[in-house]
Each structure stands twice: as C-alpha cells, then as structure tokens.
Subunit: 250 residues, 2 copies
Amino acid sequence: MSKQPVTSNLPLPPIVASRMAGEERRLQILQVAISLFAKKGFRGTTTKEIAQAAGVSEAMVFRHFATKEELYKAILDHKACASGSLDLCHAETVTDAIARKDDRAVFEQLGLALLRHHEHDTEFLGLLMHSALEGHELAQMFWERNVLQMYDFLRSYLAERQREGAILAVDPGVIVRAFVGMIIHHSVSNSLWDRQRRLLDISNEVAAREFTEILLHGICATTAGPRAHATATRRQSGVQRDAAKKKQTK
Amino acid sequence: MSKQPVTSNLPLPPIVASRMAGEERRLQILQVAISLFAKKGFRGTTTKEIAQAAGVSEAMVFRHFATKEELYKAILDHKACASGSLDLCHAETVTDAIARKDDRAVFEQLGLALLRHHEHDTEFLGLLMHSALEGHELAQMFWERNVLQMYDFLRSYLAERQREGAILAVDPGVIVRAFVGMIIHHSVSNSLWDRQRRLLDISNEVAAREFTEILLHGICATTAGPRAHATATRRQSGVQRDAAKKKQTK
DNA sequence: GAAGATGGTAAGTAAGCACTTACTTTCAAG
DNA sequence: CTTGAAAGTAAGTGCTTACTTACCATCTTC
C-alpha cells in the first residue's frame, strides 16, 4: 500500500488492481493472512480464502509461501520480531518511573502500555490465543521472549523494593501474576468475551489507574481509612460509558 | 464374504470392547469427544478420531449424533447444565462468609472454588476458550449464564459493603474484574501457558489467600506499616530459584 | 426358534482441502 | 523488436472430511 518501487524511480500510476511487485504482494498476502488467522485460527482459514481476500489466485499464495505452515511462520517473524515484541520494560515512561522508584507509575505505565498494545493490535491477541490452543510454537516463543522476560524484570524490581522496605514481603511472583492477571483478563474480556462492554466499560487509562491502585493499596477501608493519596480521583465510575476524557501521557 | 457360522462353541477371544447399551455408548462417545475438542478444538478434531478413541466405527458416532454440530451441542448441554454451571455463589462456604460479612472469606472461598474447579475440569477451560475463539455459542451462553451472573452477584455484595463503609468507593465492576482477572489468569497460565509452573508454582490455597490479601490490602508497606492483620502468614513462598535464603522481612 | 429391535461395521460418496502443473500476460532492459 | 524473467492464472491431483448406505450380529420375547 505505502510501499514505493524499490528498483526504479517511476512515477507509479495509480493502482489498477493488478500486477504488483513481488515484495509488495508478499506483504499484502501476509497482512491478509494475519487478519484471517487472527479471526478464524490457522485451521479455520483456508488458503483459498486467503487468496481471495488478497485478490489473487491460490497459486500466487503458494508462489510466495511454499506451504501454509511457512506462511504461518512468516507471520511469526513479522509479528514477533517487528512489532509484536513490545519492549515494554524499556519504554521511556516505565524506565523513568523505575529510576524514580515510583511504584505507582511503574505499574500504571506498564499496565497502560499493555492495554494499549492489546487494544491496538487485537489481531495479535487472537493469533496468540489460537496458537496457544493449537499448540503452535508461536505461543511457546512468545512466552519465552516476552512473558518470562517481563516476569523476571518485574520480579527483580519488586524484590529490590522489598529489600528497601517499600513493599510487603509477599512472593514477588504472586504480585506479578496478580497485576498481569488484571490487565490481561481485562484485555481478553474486552476483545473476546464482552466486545460490547456490557460488564464494564472503562477507558484504558482508568483501568490502568484503578488496577494499580488496587494492587498497591487494596480496597479495604478499615486498614487506613479513606487514604488521601492520589486516590482523590477514585470514584464510582460504574457504567458511565462516555465520560472518560483523558490526558496524553506522552 | 460370509463370516463363520457363529454356532458359538468356538473359544471366541473375549473381545471385551463389545456391545454396550445405547445410552452408555452415547455417553462414552460424548466423553471422548469432550476431551478431544478440549485438546484440539472443534475444527481440529475429526469424527474419525472420535470414533477411534471410542473404539467404534464412525457410523456409530453418527447414529448417536446426527451431525458433528449436534455432538457439539450435546456437549454444551452436558457441560453447561450438568456439571459446568458451578453454583459458586451459592456454595456453602461462600454464602456463609457473606452472611458473616467476612470479605476476606468471601473472596478467598470464591477464588479457591474457581481455581479448584478449573484445575479439576481443565477440559472445560479448553472447550470454553476454543468456543470463544471459534465464535461458537457455548461462549456466549456461558458468559450470560455464569460470568454475568457472578459479576452481578459480587457487584451487589460490594455495593452493600461500600454503603456500610467497609470498602473504598471504587467502581465495584473494577474490583470484580481485578479479582476475577487474577484468578482466571492464574488458571489459564497454569493450564495453557505454563504447565510446568516455571513462572510460579503455588497451591490453589496459597493463590486464593494471597490474591485475596492483595485485593483487600495491596502490597504497599507505606500506607499502614507492616500490618498485623491476618497478614502473619504472608511470606516469600514462590519461585525460590536456588535457595530460600533470602528471607528479609523488614 | 422365528421376529424384530437394537448394537455394530465395511465400504462407500461428494465436497473441501493443501498444493501442482502447464500455461499466459506484462514489461523493462539489451 | 526480441527476450526472458517475473506476475499471474485455470484447471487440475490426490488426500481428507463429514456423512451414508447396505448389510451383519446379538440380544430379548413370546
């Protein structure tokens, strides 16, 4: 779509719906396949569908990708290497928060980044879950590359903060699982189970903030009374489905 | 073409796998199909496989269930109506805790019941996720019948406790999502992503207790100091990588 | 001990699948 | 213009799939 011819400097005529350069077509087929696999899974998608969606014959698909499996693997590379492997832990806002030892910001920014990533790339979530269920290697790969890494990262941060006495001596693994659970479940709920937000309709910003708040201080009023933290913003936001005007953190 | 006259005094090998009563076979096929669908999904499982696993011919499968779809629907009824629809909210321990307004017990017991249910019926989790991804109606049905119900139930309990001032004025929907998220994500992690418990290896009891603790009081030490609640039991239980020598409770 | 219902099978069939083959069209460079 | 390589296709091929047909075997019952 956006790619210009690499081999020459022709002022390319507008798309005539036909003949594309090799690389371009390859990418287009890949894109189309990603969205189909994400929607219907690997087994649920036929090569014929892919070809049709790309506007070419099936043979064209097999010219670019020897087998369906190989097409799948190309998707892995495309997703996992290029965009998918989000370097959350190294996002500026997060590293910043870590340097400042601002626990609230660490979790809120990390949660927000995750939520935004999931919302923006719903396809990836679908792909991932299908892969996990079908026992494909993408699942394993993603787990090793991203999840494990993030767990280790967060765990060691938490351990440090525990040594400093800032955080209770709970198993850091449990804390990570709890927080990641809130976030992931929220994303999966929104994109898979409850697309119409019947159960809960809040913005990513509110979600990240509230989950962080719960993680850090819980919901019990009896422990320390109505705390006067940054908790000021907390309120019964319930089912209101529009009022979530938010600031950009960037 | 013709078989042996079966006049019967042959030392016939005791082929035990033989003739079952109709209902019995039906149930057996259903059981076998459940486990296969859970492992490989609806599309990923062939009727031939089901027949083989049940030790009968394919035709037998189609005698009991007119189509593959119908077999699937029979599974829904079997699971959703009979065992699946766990009446968590009405489990004795939970109703008990509610009557006593013991928030800790409410969440801990509910979480524990969920975790145990998932662990005991892993197949159901797999079935559910496959259904959700394949857009099957089981997903919708389950959502309406169980999840929505549980959300409403918990939400109203929380709202009451908020009116009584026992719980902070956070949107109850957010609280429910946070807690359910921890639990579900833990179950899904254990049964789908990390079967070897590389990331976190804790018992259901510990998980329910710790998640509840986090939900109620958070992990921050600064709010109220090292609280002397029932928090006494909290400790570094987790993924001790090489030794449990790092015991620094402040 | 025949009748009839019921449990069970072998051997199909048509449609759908991943993948091929043999061929045509386009187009830029020599 | 020629050429030849790359973009593209129509029409297969053989295998798998959900589902059928036509037939056997074994029990029960009077």
